[in-house]
């Protein structure tokens, strides 16, 4: 394979990784393995490195720089920024969580204890839309 083709392959891997992850975010197997995109960027950087080893052309260096940048950003995102520090455990299987009363979207108060003896409850905590 020529340096040009290797550099192009590296670029394709980078673009396919970003596009694939974004498009397949709804698929648990993809979403729940973010280390996959880090590994893909590492492969892209390796391929670009081979391109540079073959021929020190600008496109090979550019592919290497891009893939290393994405690898760096991806690694930081997944292994540092996305990590949630441990907190003292409150939720335990077999125990009742704290009761609460909070307004719903129409302003009507919702009390967790009101569901006791009536229905199971699914609680989903999410980060919000900021």
């Amino acid at each position: 394979m020529t340096a040009g083709r290797l550099a192009a392959l590296s670029l394709v891997i980078c673009v396919a990784t970003i596009g694939g992850y974004a498009l397949l975010l709804g698929v648990p197997a993809v979403r729940n393995h973010p280390e996959g995109y880090v590994a893909a960027f590492a492969i892209a950087a390796t391929v670009a490195g081979l391109a540079v080893a073959l021929k020190q052309r600008w496109y090979a260096w550019a592919a290497l720089a891009l893939s290393l940048l994405l690898f760096g950003v991806g690694s930081y995102t997944n292994f540092v920024a996305a990590q949630i520090p441990a907190e003292p455990v409150v939720l335990r299987v077999g125990e009742r969580p704290p009761d609460f009363t909070l307004p719903d979207a129409s302003g009507t108060p919702v009390t967790l204890a009101d569901y006791r003896g009536k229905k199971p409850v699914l609680l989903v905590f999410y980060r919000g839309s900021w």
Partner: protein, 89 residues
Amino acid sequence: MSPDRNEQSQQFAQRLRLGYRFVADPDLAVTRRYGLIHRRGGPGGADVPRPATVVLDREGVVRWASLSDNYQVRPDPRDVVRAVRALEP
């Protein structure tokens, strides 16, 4: 449950056509009592909720909980459905 204002969660629910009840915890008081804070995880270093899914049975007891150490990860919906179906009828 999220710190979003009611209007925001209402728009969110309508956009995704969700029938769930969205409740607002703007000062994260309840989220904090549940031990589900991601310290300094939001914009400007603000505390934000830690993503979590909890299944309570009819007696209000926790039967299944999914918390991740990585905010990119969420439970597989099939696992949630399985946990709900495993509750006593």
